[in-house]
């Protein structure tokens, strides 16, 4: 990168980096290790056990929260993938009035602090539910409330933006001549999308889907404000238990959540890496569109 730095500089760089990595991983490593500790409290290692993990299976709160988390994550991911891909196609492939505004809107979920989103959605959903209840004449016992459905709606909100951003990166790498060739050969816009565009951006779509799934699984703050009875996701459940008890069960469920996110991340990276390899191989073999014209040898004077 630069002219040879001194040994001292290199060592301190390496040392600082090691320190940072240790800092990042130590607390989490401790958490995971102690989830196998055979002691209810305390910071000393007593013995190895898996009973806390087994206890999780009995824990009704954890079981229903896990189910809710998966439900919310799967549904919000599916909807977000469809809506986000559509958005991405429209913005990337077409010029239209208001395109700049749409792009800014796309970034709103990304840059807005979660706490602000949380409270504003709380206000918004409450108002809407109140209005709906009045409109439908529902009394207190049957009233529509905050709960799992509002969580799903909120999660779709931010997932659409993230999926759109990831897919847009994929679309940028796609040679537009490909889609033109498809239309030239007789395929309508819809057929072109299914047969040519989608297969080509599939890595981006998958990556976006995995990102959305993980974000939904891990979300706390927004979920905290928009959820209600029966809508507890895993992070909400963990938080609740944190406030009440101290138990290595919390370590156990946290470790599982950690493992799930890591697996999702590595899958997303794997998909992107494979796609990157294929794209590089393809580019090596194919000429770029608009390559510089070769010299006119025959007409040399």
């Amino acid at each position: 990168m630069s002219a040879a730095p001194s040994l001292r500089a290199r060592l301190s760089l390496g040392g600082a980096s090691a320190f940072v990595f240790a800092f990042l991983y130590l607390p989490v490593a401790v958490l995971v290790i102690f989830s196998f500790n055979d002691a209810r409290t305390g910071g000393s290692w007593v013995g190895f056990t898996t009973r806390w993990y087994l206890a999780l299976a009995e824990n009704e709160g954890v079981r229903s929260a896990t189910w809710n988390s998966l439900y919310v994550a799967v549904i919000s991911t599916l909807v977000a993938v469809v809506l986000g891909t559509m958005l991405s196609l429209a913005v990337d492939r077409h010029l239209f009035r208001g395109r700049g505004v749409v792009q800014q809107v796309l970034y709103l979920p990304v840059i807005t602090p979660e706490i602000v989103t949380g409270v504003s959605l709380l206000a918004f959903f409450s108002l809407v539910l109140q209005g709906l209840n009045e409109l439908l004449g529902l009394d207190v016992s049957e009233a529509l409330r905050l709960g799992r459905p509002t969580v799903v709606i909120a999660h779709i909100g931010f997932n659409v933006a993230f999926v759109a951003l990831v897919v847009r990166a994929s679309l940028r790498n796609l040679d537009p001549a490909m889609e033109e060739a498809s239309r030239d050969l007789g395929a309508s816009a819809w057929v072109t999308f299914w047969r040519v565009t989608l297969p080509s951006i599939m890595p981006g779509v998958l990556g976006g889907a995995l990102l959305a799934f993980t974000l939904s699984l891990d979300d706390f703050v927004i979920t905290f404000f928009v959820t209600g009875p029966g809508g507890a996701t895993l992070p909400i459940e963990i938080y609740g238990q944190l406030r009440r008890t101290i138990s290595p069960e919390i370590n156990a469920i946290s470790s599982l959540l950690l493992a799930a996110s890591t697996v999702a991340l590595l899958s997303a990276l794997g998909v992107q890496a494979a796609a990157g390899r294929r794209r590089r191989a393809r580019l090596r073999a194919q000429p770029q569109a608009g390559a510089l014209p070769l010299q006119r040898e025959e007409t040399a004077m």
């Binding site: 320190f19 809107v105 706490i115 989103t117």
Partner: protein, 292 residues
């Protein structure tokens, strides 16, 4: 306009509408609602009475101290900004050597492995990571156990400003590493060599050539870290235990137990304006979307 162009327009509209509408409905309309709410009166048990009032702003700006729970609102806001600024500075100091270290690796495999190692904490649940920090620092936790074994006294790490700062840095650090790395990676080494060739010492080259070249990455990283830190909820809650409250705690309070939604709305607006203003000062109107 030809038939084809009309078709295309229609198609674009269909593609755009659902996604944009969903995001607007969840991020634009509620924001406007909050704006409206800040000018209304609270209803007992939550919600608002549609009764215009400036009470919320009065209470906010008067900086009323609320007994026993926390200090005045302005104090909390200032504390949040100060903590976030400190976090940003510390993260920058920690992330830069790491970004440089990764960039220097010659083998692509090593680079990728290290980047993945940074990304894993970045992707995992903030709740889990914050809880991990709390577990580690607890009075009866592993760190204190370890210290005791070494002969030192147990320390009350938690519920202090130190714990909150530590937690903020811990949470935000990966958000600084990735944009910094992207910038560092793009630096043309020959420019640094030119600096040395022209007589500047390594330190001078670092300060006058290298740092300016990675300015974009520094800016993006700092912005992201600042925004995430200043609006943090879990860290002050789990690591501060109510003693070191930040803006997010205020909001939870007002939208939760205190049921003063207009005040909460006013705080949220004030806070958002403050954040956006400081960002605009620092960043201007630059596009950093490539980093996101």
């Amino acid at each position: 306009m030809s038939v084809v162009q009309r078709e295309t327009r229609r198609r674009v509209r269909i593609l755009l509408l659902p996604g944009t509408a969903w995001i607007s409905l969840l991020y634009v309309v509620p924001a406007l609602l909050i704006l409206a709410y800040s000018f209304l009166t609270p209803r007992i048990g939550g919600g608002v009475e549609w009764d215009p009032s400036l009470d919320a702003y009065r209470e906010l700006l008067a900086g009323n101290a609320r007994a026993s729970y926390y200090n005045g609102y302005v104090t909390v806001l200032v504390r949040s900004v100060v903590l976030a600024a400190a976090t940003t500075a510390i993260c920058l100091g920690l992330a830069l050597p790491l970004a440089m270290f990764i960039s220097r690796r010659r083998s692509a495999i090593a680079k990728n492995a290290l980047l993945v190692a940074v990304m894993i904490p970045f992707w995992t649940s903030l709740l889990v990571r914050t809880y991990a920090m709390r577990y580690l620092l607890a009075n009866t936790g592993p760190l204190n156990e370890f210290l005791e074994n070494l002969g030192y006294e147990r320390q009350a790490f938690l519920n202090t400003r130190f714990a909150v700062l530590l937690g903020l840095v811990y949470t935000a650090l990966p958000f600084m590493v990735l944009p910094l790395y992207a910038s560092v990676e793009r630096v043309d080494g020959r420019l640094l060599e030119a600096g040395r060739d022209l007589g500047a010492s390594a330190r001078k080259v670092f300060l006058t050539v290298f740092i300016p070249l990675i300015r974009a990455g520094i800016t993006v990283g700092c912005v992201m870290v600042f925004v995430i830190s200043v609006s943090q909820f879990l860290v002050p809650t789990l690591l501060g235990g109510g003693k070191v409250n930040m803006v997010a705690n205020l909001l939870e309070q007002e939208f939760g137990e205190a049921f003063n939604w207009p005040l909460g709305a006013a705080i949220a607006l004030f806070f958002s304006a403050l954040t956006l203003f400081s960002l605009w000062l620092v960043v201007g109107r630059r596009e950093q979307e490539e980093f996101l």
